[in-house]
Symmetry: C2
């Protein structure tokens, strides 16, 4: 894969950062869609957004001028293109709404503060004028994390942190970097690479998402087995709130009361705006090996992943696709279930780790497929989301969801969610294929990631809402995590509240009141 | 070392769990104390506690009978021996107060609930009657975590969770165990060992401390390099609060909002009573190797520890003593700084890891000392606290404190804290020796642990308070952690508040109000 031109990304930040989405669907996928009853052209083309009229901006003039005073008039925009570019995130329902010209959630203005203190000032202005604030960095939320409840506010602004885009400090002895929130994944990585370091955080949204979003949504990258989750990388952070600044992180770990860093991580813009994080970094790996393995079944593959997660050694990347996803990935391939393993590090260390892990995989029934499936996964790992517009154009509906559980619960959980999705969509008259993979492993459990494809019904938003609701209900019944790495947003808010219970919900509300008494931060998201 | 008889420990839980403290001081230590001006007998013997009159119990009768109704009259004790046994923790100041007969902090009663629901009921009763509650498990706090502020309450009860002492569930596939809070370290370990598993959590307080305390105080065991800190082991927990139950942990990790488990871990009984935790466990290791290395200086040893923490492989136990601590540990030994390495796991894995780590240690200037110093450390690792009574009897003052910081900050931090302690105590006319070690390493930093020994002044409590205050001020000035694994308690409350700032303190207060509106839980501790 050619790495994208970063200067272009900076200018086109609203399509996962990729200015060149694939032009259409591979023929194999097009043929497969036919079997699902997908009929090209049946749903009509997307509305041309340049012709859509945005709702009138209602931001009071006093608020607008106070914001201009805080950040400079040139950094407060009410231009239609800016408002449009900050309308919702990039879930399939978000795409569907935009495609039919629904821009009702557009903010009234977009504010671009340039410093932490300006962010604090903007929040104070918004609290004073009862303006809802949507913290915005990459804009890649797939759970409605950028769709505020407007009711009761005098207006809505998006607070875009893109001007906070510096590598503030690099401590080569402690191996930490202080990164500002607005740094996109590829830019942060480039700045670190230039100094010999890497963050190692590569979620599928990498090209468009940013450091602030990684922290606020507790992101987990595809190399989490080796580099850890983003919440494990963060050793310090700075949060701007309407009541001032919370600066946390005096040591890697301590026993100084509850670790408040974990109250900010995952707070999704509802408690404040993360303006910078101090993260653990690692040297750029000298050696990288990616390869594939075939397992006869998902169960056998799961056992192998569990063995590596519990007894080691852990590859840097470790994934298992079910039979259907394997068939889509390795068209005409060997069948069974594909395991991708990746190793990054020093040459000798990678060789030793790979040999030991390979012995475990072979012992547990794996057949080596060589580097090709691994390299193919690596080079295509950011591409899938870009296919969605082409799928929607073709009349298909495609969306993903994820959960996590303890190892002993995984088989029943996978069956329950798959059954919920297939049943709900079959009942809607649009039989679906449901693919599943494991992409994040822990000693005590793992994630499950589902991809759903079917024909679009007349009302695809209602169609997906029903399927999603059935899946979420199954997850709640099984006591599994409402989300593994997509976050809560508005889509999972009710399920999350049910899972943490009335007391947990009260607790979150109390925390929000303490930091955001006026309740202006991302209203309706998370809490 | 002979493992202690656990049945005896269960009956004698108030002296770190060890019914047989060492009878006196080793001759070498006795001689060394002479050089510090310590004069045996100068301070007089400890008061015989059986002759001490406890303050009159003030618990209102209505509260007492409601507590009896909640847990059964036989599980509410106002006996002097129970009240005395729940008076404060085991810091040296706590010992000093008891030795001079100060039992002013004795609770009015001790309540022993037998189930989670009974704990909830007890808390509701206490909230209704404005009775302060001190959650009590092992009673090993060394930071005043069991010393409540009595003012404004109708009485004080200790809530002892010792009857919650079951291994509730073991999930061998997920490798998790659900342990109740009252299980002492050795008992929990024995129950797991019988099933082939280990927790791997061995803090110095292991023999007396309990599961609930490990969680509530964010304990870090001596094998944290290999097994992780206790807060990293916990995947789920149940918290009883005056407002009901908070049950958390649906998966090893998720992105479902802030990880509220981390708000409970470290909450030190101020937010609720942790009644059980679900923790990650591991198979009992087949192989254990402990050994010693000599480094020419603390700086060289620190560099070696950092190399292992950052580039691996990590031993299971990894410690570095400074020159003075090494001299005390290896009397007549080779000088320099002792590094102890321990490896636990499968035989082949241990052999490979030991070989690779040894190569790093040798490369960075270490000289192997063979197994003896490692095994000596392992067999004596729980003994040091038991020496304190003998030291106090001999007229010496001995206490410890700890902090943590990023690697680049460690040398200056060590110098600043050492200087603060030695200056303060020299100015008091009692020159001190200050020993230092690193016992917990992370990729980005490490802990520093200080042991201070000097002659007792006329008022040893004031003497230590001044030294401790100087050390804490130095830690705050360097921006390091107020505590690495001892916790906040009452001793670090002011420093912790200064470090998290007014907004962080407000946040903690808001959290407390949400769970404990009457403020009866461990008043004055943490918040």
């Amino acid at each position: 894969m050619t790495e994208p031109d970063l200067s272009v990304i900076d200018q086109h930040p609203y399509r996962w950062g990729n200015p060149n989405p694939p032009p259409g669907l591979p023929e194999a996928i097009r043929a497969a869609l036919g079997h699902l009853g997908v009929r090209p052209g049946a749903r009509g083309p997307a509305v041309d957004l340049s012709t859509v009229q945005l709702p009138a901006a209602v931001l009071p003039e006093a608020a607008r001028s106070a914001l201009a005073a805080a950040v400079g008039a040139e950094h407060v925009s009410t231009a239609a293109e800016d408002r449009l570019a900050h309308t919702r995130g990039w879930s399939t329902p978000d795409l569907l709404r935009l495609r039919r010209g629904d821009v009702a959630d557009a903010p009234d203005a977009v504010v671009f503060p340039g410093t932490h203190d300006e962010v604090v000032d903007v929040l104070a202005v918004c609290a004073r004028h009862r303006v809802a604030v949507v913290p915005f960095s990459g804009g890649t939320s797939v759970v409605g994390g950028l769709t505020p409840a407007r009711a009761g506010f005098s207006g809505v602004v998006a607070l875009d942190v893109r001007r906070l885009c510096r590598l503030v400090a690099l401590d080569e002895v402690s191996r930490t970097a202080t990164l500002q929130a607005g740094l996109r994944g590829p830019v942060a990585e480039r700045l670190l690479n230039e100094r010999g370091f890497t963050l190692g955080h590569f979620p599928q949204s990498f090209q468009g998402a940013s450091i602030g979003g990684f922290a606020a949504a507790r992101s987990a990258g595809q190399a989490s087995a080796g580099y850890g989750r983003f919440d494990e990388m963060v050793v310090g952070l700075e949060l701007a709130t309407p009541r001032g600044t919370l600066a946390l992180g005096h040591a890697p770990k301590s026993a100084a009361g509850p670790d408040l860093r974990h109250l900010v991580l995952g707070s999704e813009g509802a408690l404040g705006v993360i303006t910078s994080v101090r993260v653990r970094v690692r040297p750029v790996p000298a050696s990288r090996v990616y390869e594939g393995w075939r397992f006869p079944s998902f169960a056998a593959g799961t056992t192998a992943l569990r063995a590596l997660a519990q007894d080691g050694p852990l590859p840097t990347v470790l994934r298992l696709s079910d039979e259907l996803e394997t068939a889509v990935t390795l068209a005409g391939g060997p069948g069974g279930c594909l395991v991708v393993t990746g190793y990054e590090g020093g040459a000798a260390e990678v060789a030793a780790r790979r040999a030991a892990a390979s012995a475990v995989l072979a012992e547990l029934g794996g057949t080596p497929l060589g580097p090709e499936p691994g390299e193919a996964w690596r080079s295509g790992r950011y591409q899938a989301p870009y296919l969605r517009d082409a799928l929607l154009d073709a009349g298909a509906l495609a969306e993903t969801l994820e959960t996590a559980a303890f190892w002993s619960e995984l088989p029943a959980l996978r069956a329950a969610v798959t059954d919920a999705l297939t049943t709900a969509l079959a009942e809607a008259g649009t039989p679906a294929v449901v693919l599943c993979h494991i992409s994040h492993v822990y000693e005590t459990g793992a994630s499950l990631y589902f991809t759903v494809v079917c024909a679009q019904a007349d009302d695809p938003l209602a169609q997906w809402a029903a399927a999603k609701q059935a899946a979420t209900a199954a997850i709640l019944r099984r006591g599994a995590a409402v989300t593994h790495h997509h976050g809560v947003g508005t889509d999972h808010r009710a399920a999350h509240a049910e899972q943490v219970g009335p007391l947990g919900t009260d607790l979150l509300r109390a925390v929000k009141r303490a930091l955001d008494p006026a309740g202006v931060l991302n209203p309706g998201v998370l809490i």
